[in-house]
């Protein structure tokens, strides 16, 4: 090996570790790794280098603390000395506010498990209100303010992956092989405006349907 990165194998390893391979390419690569000790070792080595690099920047950029002065005796900047009690007070207020919040434990749990995307997430709890036909009646169109993420419970079904069809006034989007998360939920993005969603197995059997079709 004279130059690792002009070598297609090295490029493949980088692409794999950087998540640049397609799903099918990833499977082929991983299968090859199972059968090839040398490839597996090289992949581990590059992954370890990446992990180590990720831990370095702060240590490299920040000057090392002065060894002459113990940590507890280091002089804080005057602004920090002033800010510290103020921040503590704000933190205390936040804790009190959280403690008296009336959100139920169930809602908190669902919210904590929801993806953080910056747009609303419709959980199972909210679906029942927003989609009266969620058990399969398909009798309501969906009126919302802006796009949302919809979590769909498919835990009762045995399939590994599902097909999700999202139909809006403008177009129809189909997602193939959507894999449920650890809770057995699919999370899909719904654009603004009336939308319908159909979840089906890969054999074409519709298992969930929301909104007017």
């Amino acid at each position: 090996m004279t130059n690792v990165d002009s070598n297609p194998e090295a490029r493949r390893i980088d692409d794999y570790l950087r998540g640049r391979l397609s799903e099918d390419q990833t499977r082929q690569f991983e299968l090859r790794m199972l059968e090839d000790d040398r490839l597996f070792a090289e992949v581990q080595r590059v992954e370890l280098l990446r992990t180590g690099l990720a831990r370095l920047p702060d240590q490299l950029k920040e000057p090392a603390p002065s060894a002459a002065m113990p940590i507890g005796q280091r002089e804080a900047p005057w602004l920090l000395q002033w800010l510290q009690p103020a921040l503590s007070a704000v933190l205390l207020l936040a804790v009190v506010a959280l403690g008296i919040g009336n959100t139920s434990l169930r809602q908190q749990l669902e919210e904590s498990q929801a993806p953080r995307t910056g747009i609303p997430v419709i959980t199972l709890h909210d679906q029942r209100a927003l989609f009266p036909g969620m058990q399969g009646d398909a009798d309501s169109s969906v009126a919302r303010d802006g796009p949302v993420l919809l979590e769909i419970d498919v835990s009762a079904h045995q399939e590994q992956a599902f097909r999700v069809e999202i139909r809006s006034a403008r177009d129809t989007t189909i997602h193939e092989r959507v894999v449920p998360d650890a809770r057995g939920y699919l999370t899909v993005y719904l654009p603004d405006g009336p939308t319908s969603v159909a979840v089906s197995t890969e054999q074409g059997e519709v298992v969930r349907r929301f909104g007017t079709d």
Partner: protein, 196 residues
């Protein structure tokens, strides 16, 4: 390719005939690889380790009983099993505690850890720091970090830094080589062959 001494294709037949030694060999050979793949996919090392053990046990129980159709495709069978269990991990609780006589498999898998589990956090940072320090130029160190951590394209980086693709390749190569040497020195003779 695999070590010539590792006769993977013989394991199905040996396991079918009750050879516990073959089960241990299979677990030690495939265990770390499956765990690595699951760890990347699930981003949960503890869950990945558990599912890896489940995978090995399911595979071995299958080989003890019905067997597989194509012994030469054992790796593919193991991969599919791991993938299936990962995709159905929500139902894992029901699957546990149904295995018998597999403690040697779990023990063998746990004795073949991933390389990253052998290196302490501070030690890894030191080795990486040493590897990139030898690159000399600050520009090369930035290149390395932005390629691996910033997920930036080689072409874009070459253009921005005003370097040729060949120079880019050399930077990555030298960093990897130096890091590999430090790793070999740290891990000792057991891993030298695999890491060469």
């Amino acid at each position: 390719m695999e070590d010539p001494a590792t006769d993977v294709s013989s394991w199905p037949e040996r396991i079918a005939s009750g050879d516990a030694g073959a089960e241990t060999e299979l677990a030690r050979y495939f265990g770390p690889k499956i765990e690595f793949i699951l760890r990347r996919r699930l981003r949960d090392p503890a869950l990945a380790a558990d599912l890896c053990q489940d995978t090995l046990i399911v595979v071995i129980e299958r080989l003890r009983g019905k067997g597989i159709d194509e012994a030469d495709k054992l790796a593919a069978f193991i991969y599919r099993t791991a993938e299936y269990l990962a995709n159905n991990r929500g139902r894992r609780r029901q699957r546990r505690n149904t295995h018998s006589d597999t403690s040697h498999v779990e023990e063998a898998a746990s004795k073949a850890p991933l390389i990253e589990d052998l290196i302490e956090r501070e030690e890894l940072a030191r080795m990486v720091r040493e590897s990139i320090a030898e690159l000399g130029q600050s520009r090369d160190r930035q290149l390395l970090r932005r390629f691996y951590l910033g997920d930036e394209d080689k072409t874009d980086l070459c253009r921005e830094f005003g370097i040729s693709p060949a120079h880019f390749d050399r930077v990555l190569y030298r960093a990897r080589q130096r890091f590999g040497e430090l790793l070999q020195r740290r891990l000792g003779s057991d891993h030298i062959e695999a890491l060469r």
